[in-house]
Symmetry: C2
Subunit: 187 residues, 2 copies
DNA sequence: CGGTTGATGTCACTTGGTGTCATGATCGTA
DNA sequence: TACGATCATGACACCAAGTGACATCAACCG
């Protein structure tokens, strides 16, 4: 018999998602999350740096996906095409988890602190993509601008995807947003 | 003789800037800021919603500037041109306060919580610009994409402006970044 | 079998942030 | 002039986030 139940981190994430969803982020204490998971507040903070971070544990994997895909694009691809390929891959990944992604996004949308955290995660993602573009030979400021533009496209499309009534696939919304960006920036 | 010294808010802002700059944001307590300004912690929180907000009090004025300028652009201007005009006006405004803007930005760059707050302020700014574009007849998602792209250009140029050794005017950096964005998004 | 490791608990503490009431100067008005 | 309302601030108690230090105890290892 194991001394502790397995997957403490997962239990904490699950409990946080449930409680944030039921009562809202602000009306949930860390002690309550921990108790729900059969643990203590102190243990929560051993797994997550703060009360927000428990919702963003997957963001490093997303960053790795983006970097891999940008690096894997054919050498002949322009920077924006490489980013577009990464967006496509990310879209396919989210399409698999649509339900839980939408739930999580709803929680984030309801709280400003969580939105702040989301924004800095996206900024970090853009930074990683920019670095991947530089490895492909892109120069600054083109690299950072392309990366930021790509993440913006992703964000705009993602927002439409989660709260739309009409169920369009994320990939399609991304392509549309990207085309729209090209249109509005055409001199 | 007045019972209280005038401009409590300004004194708090000044004290915060000084202390954040000297010891860093994390090593400064709100009680210390308040004491420095001859006030109490409780009064600090009457003027500013939290410890971060004291650095961002001017952001509403910036938002208003952007909205005004976007609205004032000639009707014939494209959405991106209207945003470009607003960026120009904002640049002129910052060029007047270069020294203090750089000091403030250095403080923000040194702390993650402050970066988060900065990002949500910029997101709010982008939202306001998008709304101003809609009032000019732009449709979504063009409005939001144009606004976000414009703010991204501003952010990238601003970062280069504050920590550059070579003193190029902000307006010029913004124009260059905008041209670069147009170049990387050209199909 | 005894020592070490590693995940967890316990406890005390600092700090950000808030609710509530007290204080006392200032201002309008009779 | 006097008096009551208003308003900025202080005082105080409190909660929750987050951290450091140390204890506990099953599992593992030689």
């Amino acid at each position: 018999m194991a001394r502790w139940q397995p997957d403490a981190r997962g239990r904490l994430q699950q409990a946080a998602l449930t409680l944030y969803g039921e009562r809202g982020y602000e009306n949930t204490t860390v002690a309550e999350i921990a108790e729900h998971a059969g643990l203590t507040k102190r243990t929560f903070f051993r797994y997550f740096a703060d009360k927000r971070e428990v919702l963003f544990f997957g963001s490093q994997a997303l960053e790795e996906l983006f970097v891999t895909e940008v690096g894997a694009a054919p050498e002949s691809a322009t920077p924006l095409d490489a980013v577009a390929a990464a967006l496509d891959a990310a879209a396919a990944m989210f399409e698999q988890r649509r339900e839980s992604a939408a739930r999580r996004q709803q929680i984030i949308a309801a709280n400003r602190e969580l939105q702040e955290r989301e924004l800095i995660k996206l900024a970090s993602l853009a930074g990683a993509v920019a670095q991947a573009l530089r490895l492909r030979g892109a120069e600054d400021p083109a690299a950072i601008l392309t990366a930021e533009a790509g993440i913006t496209v992703f964000r705009v499309a993602f927002e439409r995807w989660v709260d739309q009534a009409n169920r369009q696939p994320l990939q399609r919304l991304i392509r549309e947003s990207l085309d729209e960006l090209r249109a509005v920036t055409a001199a």
